[in-house]
């Protein structure tokens, strides 16, 4: 391995990227677009659920009850309805997801201690949102109902009821339970995986297609020099992407960073080596830019999105698929990034993941070296 030849290849490849707006687009623009797009759009939090109310009671009591909903960050009162027809239309037109029907005898029922039933109608077509909305609605109703009980006891001169059980939750690592905090570190891993493989998937195939490869294999350059030289520029782009992603996380999305930065960069460089080599291997085997980029996309995008645990928890998957996720490299990087980002874990607790990434990189690199032939087949 001669440094001079490696650097000649690396320099040439750098120039290609700088002069070719498509490579630059794939390398810099697409990752940023993905980060912003998913960072903003991909949230699992359900809040400001649109709500309409049919208040048949029209009493101070019913208004207090409804006030509990409109004061909550989980609901947004979008209108009053005057009957079931209006409720139906509002839900059909998707102006509202949930509708409350407060009965005529609400105030009387509450005051007499008989209690009352409030009807909630929910659009179940999005089951996720519906179940969250139902849970929130129950919570608001329960706290109103507790308040009513306490008030009536106080008015009746009864002693405060004995203290019941009280759950004191302490949420660690993501105390606001912002799903973005959880998603963003994983998003970095997914973006890096896709971009890295896509970038290198073009390099060797392009040289075969243009005909420069035939020239190159008739020179003394070795396979290792060629692969290493070609990896270096894309490695730099990958690291630049990581830096941009961290900055976006810090300044745009306010993602807390509890771990050590160097650990993120170190684990990313191991991960990148594997992902870049994977793209290179695909490029070497297919010798066609089109085929290579398609395969790279399918081989990285789907597993990274679906099976890395980035959005969909691996623990909820059927057991055979859970087993399969063990060979998805993005899975380990997602775990690493989340661990470092949110929990501030050190290498000691993440060494398993790091070792797997290292082994994967070594394996794919060896395969790429093995498959690259300085011959016309």
């Amino acid at each position: 391995m001669k440094a001079k030849r490696v650097s000649a290849v690396a320099r040439k490849e750098f120039l290609h990227v700088l002069r070719d707006w498509r490579s630059l687009g794939i390398g810099i623009a697409i990752p940023l677009v993905m980060l912003f797009l998913f960072g903003y759009a991909l949230t699992l939090d359900v809040d400001r659920v649109p709500l309409v109310v049919w208040d048949q009671s029209q009493t101070p009591a019913s208004r207090t009850f409804i006030g509990g909903f409109s004061a909550s960050r989980y609901f947004q009162l979008v209108g009053e309805a005057g009957g079931y027809g209006e409720i139906e239309r509002a839900i059909e037109a998707r102006r509202a997801v949930i509708a409350l029907v407060v009965p005529v005898d609400f105030a009387r029922g509450v005051a007499s201690g008989r209690g009352s039933s409030v009807q909630a109608i929910i659009d179940g077509s999005d089951s996720n949102v519906a179940s969250y909305a139902l849970g929130y609605a129950e919570g608001v109703t329960r706290s109103y109902s507790n308040q009513v009980t306490l008030d009536s006891m106080r008015r009746g001169g009864l002693p405060q009821p004995a203290a019941g059980l009280d759950l004191e939750p302490r949420v660690w690592f993501n105390s606001d339970m912002e799903s973005r905090n959880y998603i963003f570190p994983g998003l970095i891993a997914v973006v890096m995986m896709v971009i890295a493989a896509l970038l290198t998937s073009l390099t060797v195939a392009r040289e075969w297609e243009v005909g420069t490869m035939e020239q190159l294999i008739a020179t003394p350059v070795t396979r290792g020099e060629l692969i290493l030289g070609k990896l270096i520029p894309y490695f730099c782009i990958g690291m630049l992407d990581l830096l941009l992603a961290i900055l976006v996380g810090e300044f745009v999305f306010d993602i807390p960073m509890r771990g050590q930065l160097w650990l993120i960069f170190a684990s990313c460089s191991v991960f990148l080596a594997g992902a870049l080599s994977l793209g290179m291997l695909i490029s070497i085997v297919t010798k066609s830019q089109f085929l290579s980029s398609q395969i790279a996309l399918v081989a990285t995008m789907l597993p990274a999105f679906l099976l890395s645990g980035f959005v969909f928890p691996i623990a909820n998957m059927p057991y055979p698929i859970q087993l399969f996720t063990h060979v998805i490299t993005a899975r380990y990087f997602v775990t690493l990034l989340r661990g470092i980002y949110l929990k501030g874990l050190g290498l000691r607790l993440l060494v398993g993941e790091a070792l797997f990434l290292l082994a994967f990189a070594a394996l794919v690199l060896t395969l790429a070296h093995h498959k690259l032939r300085k011959k016309i087949e």
């Binding site: 000649a8 120039l15 002069r19 420069t212 020239q215 008739a218 020179t219 003394p220 300085k374 016309i376």
Partner: protein, 321 residues
Amino acid sequence: MNGANATTTGESPEAQVSLHELTRRFGDFTAVDRVTLDVARGEIFGFLGPNGAGKSTTIRMLCGILPPSSGSGTVAGYDIATQSEQIKNQIGYMSQKFSLYEELTVEENIDFYSGIYRIPAGKKAERKEWVIEMAGLAEQRGTRAQALSGGWKQRLALGCAVLHEPPIVFLDEPTSGVDPISRRSFWELIYRLSGEGVTIFVTTHYMEEAECCDRLGFIFGGELIALGTPAELKAGFPGQIVEIGCERPFELLQRVESLPGVKSSALFGAGLHLAVENAEQTIAAIGRELPDLDLRMERITPSLEDLFVSFMQAQGRAASS
């Protein structure tokens, strides 16, 4: 580094390139069929043949990028089957497409190959200037290769291929698609390299280029069918050539083909060339058969093209019978 290496399997110890029964098959198709030849140091060896005859396949085997199916060969004393990586240090190769990096400038292309061939730092600038001067690219240093015309690209590609002063250069149809003036200046470069002792193995299908070579090999259907200097080949031409100048050569072609003693015939410029056994007899016969036509007929010495055409027609007849 000029080929002090002992020849191991070659025919002649002087030979820089030596092939023995070299064969390459692709499935059922035999692209190169038992080709045996030697090329001496400093020689310009022209490899001639129509498209698909096996010229490029042969060159690729010699450059060590295509393994032979059988037979053997050495380049600079190294075996093409087992020592292909050593060969790559000794050769310059210019493949059929001028394989430059289109997005890179003239200088960046040179710098790239300079790094690949590990030209020492002290020599790098001098070699770069040599290439730029040789290719006449002083004005285009910073121009991207994609903006260069065909002739310039071709000279730059040659420059990149000989940057490291290899003792042997393989050029695969270096002048295809290049205008005649550029072609001429390209051949001046080839002479210059040859004068410096570089062995040149060049494929072409231009006959005027073939005339410029020290020795020629004709390849057809994968087989080497003639080998020698241009003068030897012409002297060995079986028969004589009659040139006919006429108005409508295509019509005439069909009428004279069937005459006795005509071995092959071909359109040639504004007339016909006939390969015949005896020129005087044929001229007399045509005069008798076609007295109505005002034909200018003359016996000429065969050109390489006549030779090539008659070889190909003879092979074609042999194949169809």
